[in-house]
Amino acid sequence: MDIKIKYFASLRDRMGRSEDQISFDNDNVTVADLWGKLSDEPISENILVAVNMEYTDTGHKLKNGDEVAFFPPVTGG
């Protein structure tokens, strides 16, 4: 299945990019599994995650075509 990833604010700087596109062979993938593919560092407790523009947690199970966004904890304009 195909997953689209977006990074915001300081996370974008840390990753060095604003988006990723990843394919998985199996269907049993959580947000935490996804993060494991994206970064060598463990996911911070404070990072916010949204799947298809709704906040969720790292145990959320992904489906084909999901858009996953990661935000640093507190950001404001």
């Binding site: 915001f8 906040y55 640093p72 950001t75 304009g77």
Partner: protein, 152 residues
């Protein structure tokens, strides 16, 4: 209710006037409270020459609308407007305008303050200074305390 995010220069007074003329019936509201947030040329003691605001198209608008709806459910508000500038801007540029119309001014004040406060907390608008990310504390002790549901 009208909510939008724009990369164009923001004329906050014109937005409020235009919305009032097109959406509010004449002679029914007793007052409007307007908050205009402008870009300052300093932040935490450092000079700031320019700023880039980023957002998450779709999610940002949805969450601003959600915050407005909460305010309209909580107080007796006739209408609300939020326009948020994103993209590159320079000091003194208006960044955001929030307006709340009501029959009674206490409802306008409470709703406007609630919206700007929670908008800063939840709406996926992120700030990049020239050299580093600026992370604001949006705490405003004047806003009614209310438990936030982080999961929509």
């Amino acid at each position: 209710m009208k909510v939008f995010v724009t990369k164009e220069a923001l004329d906050p007074y014109k937005e409020v006037q235009d919305h009032e003329r097109s959406a509010l019936p004449e002679g029914k509201h007793g007052g409007v409270v307007v908050f205009i947030g402008a870009m300052r040329d300093f932040n935490d003691g450092e000079n700031v020459k320019s700023l880039s605001l980023d957002h998450y198209p779709g999610m940002t608008e949805r969450h601003i609308e959600q915050v407005c709806q909460e305010a309209m459910d909580e107080w007796d508000v006739m209408d609300a407007l939020v326009v948020h500038r994103v993209g590159e801007m320079v000091p003194a540029d208006p960044m955001v305008v929030v307006a709340a119309w009501a029959a009674h001014r206490k409802d306008s004040f409470d709703a406007c303050r609630y919206i700007i406060n929670y908008l800063k907390e939840r709406c996926e608008i992120t700030t990049e200074g020239k050299k580093h990310w600026v992370e604001h504390n949006s705490e405003d002790p004047g806003v009614t305390e209310r438990k936030l549901q982080k999961t929509a």
